[in-house]
């Protein structure tokens, strides 16, 4: 297998490249000019996926020369709500898909999506299966809508495309530099939460996430799969196991409080974007991934 991995300089990208290189040469793609991989079978290419020309040059240049047959699209904008994020999440995904379909060598496209694409609501099931309604509310944060659009861009090509398309909707990867809102929330020594609620959250380790993408890259056929983590626990237990203190406050105070924190410290956590899941359960059901991909989360997070 010859793989191409976008977002290769992220912690998940690096972990996946290390796994895939065991199965064949890997073309690692990142934004940084000086991205380095020590393995001789890993070739690093710098490319700005928000520029169409750069994407074309990547697919018809190094990817074709390299004989890439699997493209794993991990690139995500780490900061929510930035102008470049829409170009990266939606336009780059669409273009990569189209060029992958036209490519003479590519046979498989694996797209990284997230659990945030699901609508978590009071009147919806606690267990999120792949057919759970997506977050299409006009009031949803822009970055969530972008991820839904990118997810749908990949899903709508399934069955029509000459290549296999796989979408992995991952639980939140609780690791630094992964754009995790929960990780940022937990970085404060005191975590404020809405009083009277303690919903279940499911978090994914970097090891399990990279293993899921490895299995998806090596597999065959198309499909959408939830990738849950091995840790399902109440929000307060997550805070406690992270060595922090949780303090319950009335919900309406939390939005302004975290907005002030964002302005003062440059933190990324936005309460408004997480309000639903700070009230109601939303746990990914991974039975489909277990059945079709053979993926079962096994690595518990070492919190604290």
């Amino acid at each position: 297998m010859n793989a191409l991995v976008t977002g290769a300089t992220t912690p998940l990208g690096r972990a996946l490249v290390d796994r895939l290189v065991v199965h064949g040469p890997v073309l690692a793609v990142g934004l940084e000019e000086d991205g380095r991989f020590d393995h001789p079978d890993v070739r690093y290419v710098a490319a700005d996926l928000t520029r169409a020309r750069s994407v074309r040059e990547l697919i018809y240049g190094p990817a074709t020369e390299h004989g890439t047959d699997v493209l794993v699209h991990l690139a995500f904008h780490r900061r929510a709500g930035r102008a470049r994020s829409a170009a990266l999440h939606i336009e780059a995904t669409r273009l990569l898909l189209r060029l992958a379909e036209e490519s003479p060598v590519l046979k498989r496209f694996v797209h990284r999506s997230t659990a945030e694409v699901y609508a978590v609501r009071l009147d919806r099931p606690d267990i999120l299966r792949e057919d759970h309604p997506l977050e299409l509310a006009p009031t949803a944060p822009a970055w969530v809508r972008e991820r839904v659009a990118a997810d749908l861009a990949a899903c709508t090509r399934m069955g029509m495309s000459p290549i296999d398309i796989v979408v992995l909707r991952c639980a939140e990867i609780l690791a630094p530099d992964m754009g995790s809102q929960l990780h940022d929330w937990l970085s404060a020594s005191v975590c404020f939460r809405p009083m009277g609620y303690d919903p279940l959250v499911n978090v994914l380790s970097l090891e399990d996430a990279s293993r899921a993408f490895e299995l998806a890259a090596l597999g065959s056929g198309s499909g959408v799969y939830n990738i849950p983590g091995a840790d399902t626990l109440p929000l307060t237990a997550l805070v406690r196991e992270s060595g922090r203190d949780a303090i319950g406050l009335p919900g309406p105070l939390l939005g302004p409080l975290y907005a002030a924190r964002r302005r003062l410290t440059g933190a990324r956590f936005r309460y408004r974007d997480n309000a639903w899941r700070f009230h109601f359960n939303g746990v990914l059901d991974g039975s489909r991934a277990a059945r079709d991909l053979g993926f079962r989360p096994s690595c518990r997070l070492s919190l604290g």
Binding site: L122, D123, R124, P125, D126, I127, R129, H132, P194, M195, G196, Y197, D198, P199, L200, A230, D231, T232, L233, P234, A237, E241, H279, F280, N281, V283, D285, R300
Partner: protein, 282 residues
């Protein structure tokens, strides 16, 4: 030095103290599919179940003096649906049934809650940690697949909110429990709850009150539930798997027929319970 009160409550020592050895053993023996951190995928925890049983013990033993009839009709294991009449302004019937099933059958009743309950602060935690779940179809599916014992009130909010004059009159009987039981091949156990319909008569309600998603604000005749005696009558299971095939879940006539069987069985249990009881408080 005596323990600090918040810690005494929070770490479960209060629950253990209130449970006593027999109930503690019953709670310890409950089958709970731990998802890794002491809770299952819906939020049920053993400590939450213990807290629920401890808090309802006084009500069960002394206030309502609950009498359980024919609980052996509830399957000892595997997926099943309990369908009961609903009444009483406060969901005392659900709490007493849940307590009874832990105490006398060693099973956790997964109580299908109306959608507004998970939105109520603190109340949601008491119910969810004790086995309740938001009564959506998706949750119903997942729990039946997992082989759980579901407790449904097909009358829904109109049942618990009916005026005193309509006690023991079954309200519109919803079909969802029958459809899902057919789909999953789960037996339905009809349950007649006698006594709860008199425990907190409702004299009026404010329809425009929708704080936290509540459907209305009830005005009960008494500030606290009356100490009526509650009888729980478990009927013979309706053998759904031998009467219907899973594809019948798509057949409205078959679903209606199954739901009607359950309704008639509950009505029969209520009639028997009312005929056999010696008085509301005895």
């Amino acid at each position: 030095m005596p323990p600090r009160l918040p810690r005494f409550i929070g770490d479960g020592r209060l629950s253990k103290a209130l449970l006593g050895p027999e109930l503690r053993a019953a709670v310890e023996g409950l089958p709970i599919a731990d998802a890794g951190h002491g809770v299952d995928r819906f939020g049920l925890s053993r400590s939450g179940a213990a807290r629920g049983i401890a808090l309802t013990r006084f009500l069960y033993e002394h206030w309502f003096r609950v009498v359980s009839h024919d609980i052996e009709h509830v399957p000892a294991s595997g997926a099943a649906v309990l369908a009961a009449n609903h009444s009483g302004t406060l969901p005392v019937d659900a709490l007493m049934l849940a307590h009874d099933l832990v105490r006398n059958r060693g099973r956790v009743a997964r109580i299908a809650m109306d959608w507004f309950v998970p939105g109520l602060p603190w109340v949601n935690l008491v119910f969810i940690r004790g086995g309740g779940f938001s009564g959506t179809r998706g949750n119903f599916h997942a729990l039946l697949e997992a082989g759980e014992l579901l407790l449904a009130f097909p009358e829904g909010v109109p049942g618990i909110g009916k005026p005193f004059a309509e006690r023991y009159t079954l309200q519109t009987w919803r079909r969802g429990h029958a459809e899902l039981a057919i789909r999953h091949g789960a037996p339905i156990v009809p349950v007649g709850v006698v006594g709860a319909e008199e425990q907190m008569p409702q004299i009026a309600r404010i329809e425009g009150f929708h704080v936290m998603g509540a459907p209305y604000l009830p005005i009960p005749a008494t500030p606290v539930p009356l100490p009526v005696r509650i009888h729980l009558w478990y009927g013979e299971p309706i053998p759904i798997p031998s009467l219907y095939r899973p594809e019948h879940a798509h057949d409205a006539v078959a679903v209606d027929e199954a739901a009607e069987r359950v309704k008639l069985a509950v009505r029969g249990l209520l009639a028997r319970g009312l005929a056999e009881r010696r008085g509301v408080f005895r």
